[in-house]
């Protein structure tokens, strides 16, 4: 609408990566523009080329990238070649960058103040006390408490959310007109994520800074952006205001993305996902379980290191119990105790009314045929030297249940069960995608026909579309095999789509538990409400519902 030229426009940009002597297209013929003060979100799965665009604008493309065509205009000026980005000092002064992972985005050996001060000096030429004052002011602006103290601390002394705020402060130091945020919060808990994004949006509003947010989460993009741009395989498939995209998606891919985001699919977070089935018998019960880790200094279990405090819940056969909480809330400790990897400090764990909390490793071994685990990271949970067939039948070999032909048959059966192509049997894990690997891990966990399966963040490492496929598979398997799940997750949208019961845990204590529809439909505890509020896509769900 405005007569002024856009702040940044990218025209017919094509980028390819050189790999093993040939070129692999990463970005093809992309056009986009951002006006002053506008928030644009690029949504796409990993490998869709969204980060490559950000890197190109920043002039930070890796050495094996080739810009095949296109140009980038800043502020209506003449086109800028990539080499100019550096020489003209666009980076910092005009474009600020907030990287993805706050854990590795800061120099661990430098104080926070020094790292921001460096950016301040570079951008504004301030030195000494004036730079220090500016640093403190920036920390204050990004919502860091006690900025004078934080400036003297090192990155490891700050939480993930704090570090992300520091990274935002660094991006702001040059007073840029555009901030590019590459998955700024995907490594953070949803409540922290919400406060950071709120803050970023407010800062952008106050300063009139344009935002380019890159994310895989359509819900988040729709909540935050003025315009959403959907990418697939290096091309823009659709763009427009969030409302138009959500209510009238033109492309099948966009529709699939919307369907994959439980918060967006109209049924919303509170819908009961399925007809309730008769509850099976009690399978596993935690009774007043506490876990305190010994302090590394004294070796004594201390109050401060309490991972679980008086936790009790029941898992019924054939049903799904979800354990929801932020990182550090003790979710994983529950898994480890139930699987006999840790011993509880207090309380009992009952499996079919038998106390299993005190069992030694050999005593526990027979139970492993009945309780299994699917781990979080499918990229690390498969032995790189095993073929897929070897991976899935390994438990059968370990227990000496099958040999020779029987083993091959079992491998084929398990591979079919998780809907992988038969050819996958002879492949190695590195040849499979993340979603396929997670299918392999599920097949392995089901090899022994367990009655109870622990799922430790089973989809958090995967793209949204793949997430919904894996969750659908888990649902199908539960119906077919009657296996009970304990699903540990920080993501409410995952939980609502598959769980019957939910346990909300915070700092090792259960704050609320009950059927999913009850707990999320009418949360009794403020923390549960906070978690619900923070789920990306909540605002946009209203748009879709209309």
């Amino acid at each position: 609408m405005s007569i002024r030229p856009p702040l940044l426009s990218v025209r017919r940009l094509s980028i390819a990566y050189r790999a093993g002597g040939s070129l692999v297209a990463a970005v093809q013929n992309v056009e986009l523009s951002i006006g002053r003060g506008e928030t644009l979100a690029i949504v796409g799965e990993s490998g869709s080329g969204k980060s490559t665009i950000a890197l190109a604008i920043l002039g930070l493309l890796p050495a094996n990238a080739r810009i095949l065509a296109g140009d980038i205009q800043v502020d209506g000026g003449s086109s800028v070649s990539m080499a100019d980005v550096e020489t003209l000092g666009l980076r910092g002064r005009i474009v600020g960058f907030v990287p993805q992972d706050p854990m590795v985005g800061l120099n661990p050996t430098m104080r926070i103040g020094g790292q921001i001060g460096e950016a301040v000096t570079k951008a504004s030429g301030l030195h000494g006390r004036r730079a220090d004052a500016e640093t403190i002011a920036l920390l204050e602006q990004v919502g860091v408490d006690e900025p004078a103290l934080r400036a003297r601390q090192y990155p490891h002394q700050l939480s993930g959310g704090m570090r992300q705020r520091v990274l935002i402060a660094i991006a702001l130091a040059g007073n840029p007109a555009l901030i590019i945020a590459d998955e700024p919060t995907s490594a953070l808990d949803s409540t922290v994520q919400k406060s950071i994004l709120d803050h970023l949006a407010r800062l952008a509003g106050e300063r009139g800074v344009a935002l380019l947010v890159i994310t895989h989460d359509l819900g988040l993009a729709a909540d935050r952006a003025d315009r959403v741009l959907v990418m697939k395989d290096g091309r823009i498939v659709e763009q427009g205001p969030p409302r138009a995209i959500l209510t009238a998606p033109a492309e099948a891919y966009t529709r699939a993305l919307i369907a994959a985001a439980p918060a967006l699919d109209g049924k919303g977070l509170f819908g009961v996902r399925r007809a309730s089935r008769p509850a099976g018998g009690e399978l596993l019960r935690f009774e007043g379980v506490s876990k305190r880790f010994p302090s590394p200094m004294t070796g004594e279990p201390s109050r401060a290191s309490t991972a679980l405090d008086n936790v009790g819940f029941t898992v019924h056969a054939g049903r799904t119990l979800a354990v929801v909480g932020e990182s550090g809330s003790g979710k994983t400790t529950i898994c480890r105790i139930a699987l006999g990897l840790e011993k509880p400090s207090d309380g009992r764990v009952l499996f079919e009314n038998r106390d299993i909390s005190g069992l030694s490793w050999p005593e526990f071994r027979p139970l492993r045929r009945r309780i299994q685990l699917v781990q979080q990271d499918p990229f690390a949970s498969l032995d790189p030297r095993f073929t897929i067939a070897e991976c899935v039948v390994e438990p059968l070999v370990s227990f000496g249940l099958e040999k020779g032909k029987g083993l091959q048959a079992a491998a084929s059966r398990l591979i079919d069960l998780v809907q992988l192509p038969r050819e996958a049997a002879s492949r190695y894990p590195r040849e499979l995608s993340g979603g396929q690997r997670q299918r392999v891990a599920i097949a392995r966990a089901l090899a022994l026909k367990p009655e109870l399966l622990f799922l430790d963040e089973p989809v958090s490492a995967l793209d949204v579309l793949i997430q919904s496929q894996i969750l659908a598979l888990l649902d199908e398997l539960q119906r077919a095999l009657g296996v009970a799940y304990v699903l540990v997750s920080h993501d409410l949208s995952v939980v609502t789509s598959v769980a019957d019961h939910v346990v909300v845990i915070r700092k090792g204590r259960i704050v609320e538990q009950g059927p999913v529809a009850e707990v999320f439909g009418d949360p009794a505890h403020p923390y549960t409400r906070e978690l619900l509020e923070a789920t990306p896509g909540r605002r946009s769900a209203a748009l879709v519902a209309v």
């Binding site: 093993g20 040939s22 692999v24 093809q28 990897l341 781990q375 990271d377 032995d383 190695y428 022994l448």
Partner: protein, 303 residues
């Protein structure tokens, strides 16, 4: 219109290239022979290194293929002959062909170095795996023993061992092997410590795998890589150490000639016939550089 179809075409080409790259990646472990040769030819340093090592191994296995001279045949007329058409590397003080002696000496030197690396590799692997896998007191005891070995300079340690068990090619090999073993033990232990905390090892344990199965099927194969690279790297070190000990006279008894012995022999004629020491010395240097170059390549090639 034309423009569009052209861009379609180039897109298709890019797709094809992408597919080919993906194929290449998936075939990587069994890279086709022709392609592998192509990769090799782009790296002349590696080709030269492989050629040198190939020469040495052929010389060790079948020396008569490379030289028709008898390394022990004395020809007084050719005494201290300079390098030339007849004697490529010259002849020594009693007229023996130096090239023939280097070629025939390869067998002893390669044998000694291989035994040394073999001892270091197997002993280091066993000690490192036990220390890393068992942890606790076992780990502490083994690693303090390794620390003691590390605290002594390896040449001094080798000399002490040789003095204890006697002279000769095999004792030299044993002494050098023990001298370089601590590095293997430490590397193995750190790899085992790293691998044993990986999720797939935990998954195997939860799947009911016994400790032995976890160790042999998961931990060992996945921690070997860096140790094998270390072995190739230490092959060069072993050659130098073996040559050093035989230079000092602890190696094979005359007239058999290890490379170190040849260098030592030439010392008395440094002014009149410098090539007698220089050529075997340069030869040892070339072999060690080649071994190191290959080791570095292996190291870089690891994922």
């Amino acid at each position: 219109m034309v423009d569009d179809s052209r861009s379609e075409l180039s897109t298709a080409r890019l797709r094809l290239a992408a597919g080919r790259a993906a194929l290449g990646r998936s075939l990587r472990p069994s890279l086709r022979g022709a392609e592998r040769l192509g990769h090799l030819l782009r790296r002349p340093g590696l080709v030269l290194s492989l050629a040198i090592l190939a020469f040495v191994f052929v010389a060790a296995a079948a020396p008569t293929l490379l030289t028709s001279y008898d390394p022990y045949l004395t020809v007084p007329a050719d005494r201290l002959a300079p390098p030339g058409a007849e004697h490529w590397f010259g002849a020594d003080e009693i007229g023996r062909d130096l090239f023939a002696r280097i070629v025939h000496g390869s067998s002893l030197s390669v044998q000694a170095s291989s035994i040394a690396v073999g001892i270091a590799f197997s002993a280091g692997l066993v000690l490192g795996v036990i220390a890393g896998f068992a942890g606790g007191w076992t780990d502490a005891a083994i690693m303090r023993f390794i620390d003691v070995l590390l605290a002594l300079p390896s040449l001094l340690l080798s000399l002490a061992i040789i003095t204890a068990i006697g002279f000769g090619t095999i004792p030299v090999a044993v002494a050098v092997g023990v001298g370089i073993m601590p590095g293997f033990a430490r590397t193995t232990r750190s790899e085992v410590l790293r691998v044993k905390t990986l999720p797939y090892v935990e998954a195997a344990r939860l799947g009911g795998a016994s400790r032995a199965r976890t160790l042999l099927r998961h931990i060992l194969p996945n921690s070997c890589g860096p140790v094998i690279v270390l072995a190739t790297l230490d092959f060069g070190v072993a050659i130098i150490a073996v040559a050093g000990l035989s230079f000092l006279g602890f190696g094979a008894a005359p007239p058999a000639a290890e490379w170190g012995t040849l260098i030592a022999n030439g010392r008395n004629f440094l002014v009149t016939a410098p090539w007698l020491s220089l050529i075997p010395g340069l030869f040892v240097m070339a072999v060690v550089l080649a071994a190191n170059h290959i080791a570095r390549t292996l190291e870089d090639g690891r994922p």
